[in-house]
């Protein structure tokens, strides 16, 4: 299973992973435009923070994906590569996945009444949070 894994001991909670996640999933792919002129930014990686404890977490692309089992619309499914994929066009925003995800890895996008989650930067080809983390506190396991 491909996934991004955190090294909590070297995470300082700078939130840059969240920032670059938003940019990677924006229309413009431009940091200023993404934050200032596009719809409300929803990072798909969450900095779980209770200082000094801090680390970043996102969809784990679980072997046993509780979100997929709970999804009432068929929007969430596991593809052949082992990723948990979210088909936004099928999502009705019921939030059953939010209820089910043991990692809190599903992000609610209330503006669109849907959810968003880590897609391992499918469009770009490599998880941008990993690439941009200044402390190398995130690594990509291709599984």
């Amino acid at each position: 299973m491909p996934k991004v894994v955190a090294k909590p001991e070297v995470c300082m909670g700078c939130h840059l992973c969240e920032v670059w996640c938003v940019v990677a999933h924006s229309n413009s792919k431009d940091i200023v435009k993404a934050f200032k002129y596009e719809k409300t930014p929803h990072p798909r990686i969450i900095v779980d923070e209770n200082l000094p404890e801090v680390f970043a977490i996102q969809c784990r692309h679980c072997e046993e994906p509780d979100c997929v089992f709970a999804c009432i619309s068929g929007a969430l499914y596991k593809d052949e590569s082992g990723r948990v994929v979210h088909d936004e066009s099928k999502c009705v925003g019921c939030l059953s996945c939010v209820m089910a995800c043991p990692h809190g890895g599903i992000v609610i996008d209330l503006d669109n009444r849907k959810i968003v989650k880590c897609d391992l930067c499918e469009e770009i080809g490599f998880p941008v949070c990993v690439k941009m983390c200044p402390n190398e506190a995130l690594i990509y396991e291709e599984g």
């Binding site: 090294k7 779980d48 404890e53 680390f55 509780d66 009432i72 619309s73 939010v98 209820m99 043991p102």
Partner: protein, 436 residues
């Protein structure tokens, strides 16, 4: 008479069935599988009926899996055919088409059927009284909508309230009649009911609690008005009955398959008859919170029950330790997630639960957690429901909250609020430690 034989036969074509099919195919490509349903449609999600009627999704999006699902899974769909009896001795399911379907292993995932309480003037010939549970119901209601102005809904449970929301947003005058003294009483506490009632009130829905329908006034096969138990009369163009769903167990009545309210299964989803499994709304399944079997008619439980049945059918071992009551719902802009027991104020007092709660009425935010023996036994989140699954995980793993109980109501509650030993144990495959 046509005879067929499959390694695995599934009666039902919904959540439980799909959970079983996908799990088998993830481990075995060769076993022959047939799926039987009296509904003629490709597998669809009945939970999407409100979204369809609201116009939020089109018919094609009602399908739970892509249209090539049966082909891709290499299974034989026998749709539009009803199973009328099961010959457990010779391992055969008899269909209303007079066909017989032999099985080696059988999954009964027949779901539920709507319960209709006795009402004077009611009979099955009425042409404007509907349930809200099948695609056919949705298509019938869709047809009558353009010529309707007023609707009466019997039942303010999840389904009745979802129907009420859709219909008021479609511009109808909506009246909801509920026997209990508040909406959604079996599912949420008093405070949450009030928030929901207020949301409906603000949207112009009339809710009558503590009352039911005594009598239907009809003109031939058409209901014109309903009379409530307090004598009040409400005119309507059509009516929806949504008082509840009962396990559909007629197929196994008076057979060796043991039935209480639903088909009784053990944690392997086995019924009392060898090689016969049951899952979903038709079954009484294990609840890890109550440590007992009960009806838990919810989509995730049905899917997961089908999955556990599949693993055991294949001769591997798996137990259903995952299920409890769990709802994600929303009415207008009010989002609600609950899990585990519904510990109302009354129950908390009587049965000695400790309640942690946080209520901000002006923001419509409410969080309520019921504890017993230092374990989370129930939760209700309203308004802010983010990351609720972390709590469900703590419930499933029976983690005592002693060391972090004062953090439980934090809106940003997450793994960093847990003591290190618990945190890294729960996330052991998800992080890398010990590098410095």
């Amino acid at each position: 008479m046509l005879e067929m034989k499959f390694d695995i036969v599934i009666i039902g074509n919904s959540a439980g069935a799909v959970g079983c099919i996908e799990t088998i195919r993830s481990r075995d490509k060769d076993l022959s599988i047939a799926v039987i349903s009296d509904e003629k449609y490709h597998t669809y999600s009945r939970a999407l009926i409100p979204y369809y009627l609201a116009g939020k999704i089109d018919l094609e999006k009602m399908y739970y899996r892509p249209l090539d699902f049966y082909e891709r899974m290499n299974i034989t769909p026998l749709l539009g055919k009803k199973a009328v009896s099961i010959d457990f001795k010779n391992k055969k399911v008899k269909l209303d088409s007079a066909e017989e379907v032999g099985y080696d292993k059988l999954l009964i995932a027949t779901g539920g059927k709507p319960f209709i309480p006795p009402m004077e003037g009611f009979d099955r010939n009425l042409d404007n009284v509907f349930s809200f549970v099948s695609l056919d119901d949705a298509l019938e209601i869709e047809k009558i909508l353009p010529i309707s102005e007023k609707v009466v809904i019997l039942g303010a449970g999840v389904i009745g309230l979802m129907a009420a929301e859709v219909l008021v947003e479609k511009g109808l005058e909506v009246h909801v009649v509920e026997l209990a003294d508040r909406v959604l009483a079996p599912v949420v506490d008093e405070g949450t009911s009030q928030l929901i009632e207020k949301a409906f009130e603000e949207h112009g829905v009339s809710i009558y609690t503590g009352l039911t329908i005594k009598k239907l006034n009809r003109e031939e096969n058409h209901v014109k008005s309903v009379v409530l138990t307090d004598g009040r009369e409400i005119n309507c163009d059509f009516m929806i009955v949504a008082v509840g769903v009962m396990p559909r167990v007629d197929l196994v009545k008076d057979t060796p398959v043991k039935v209480n309210r639903g088909i009784l299964v053990n944690k392997k989803m086995e019924t009392s008859v060898k090689d016969v499994y049951a899952a979903g709304d038709c079954a009484e399944i294990y609840d890890f919170i109550t440590d007992d079997r009960r009806l838990l008619p919810l989509w995730p439980n049905a899917y997961y029950g089908g999955r556990i049945a599949a693993i055991n059918m294949l001769g591997e071992e798996a137990e259903f330790e995952w299920g409890t009551s769990m709802n994600a719902m929303h009415f207008f802009d009010l989002y609600i997630i609950n899990a585990g027991l519904n510990v109302t104020d009354e129950i908390a007092e009587k049965e000695g639960y400790e309640i942690l709660s946080r209520f901000e009425p002006e923001k419509k935010v409410y969080r309520r957690i019921a504890l017993k023996d230092e374990l989370i036994k129930g939760l209700i989140f309203v308004g802010k429901v983010d990351r609720a699954g972390i709590y469900l995980n703590l419930m499933r793993r029976k983690i005592p909250v002693t060391e972090f109980r004062e953090r439980l109501l934090d809106y940003d509650f997450g793994y960093t609020k847990l003591p290190e030993s618990i945190r890294w144990n729960l996330l052991k495959n998800e992080v890398i430690l010990g590098i410095i």
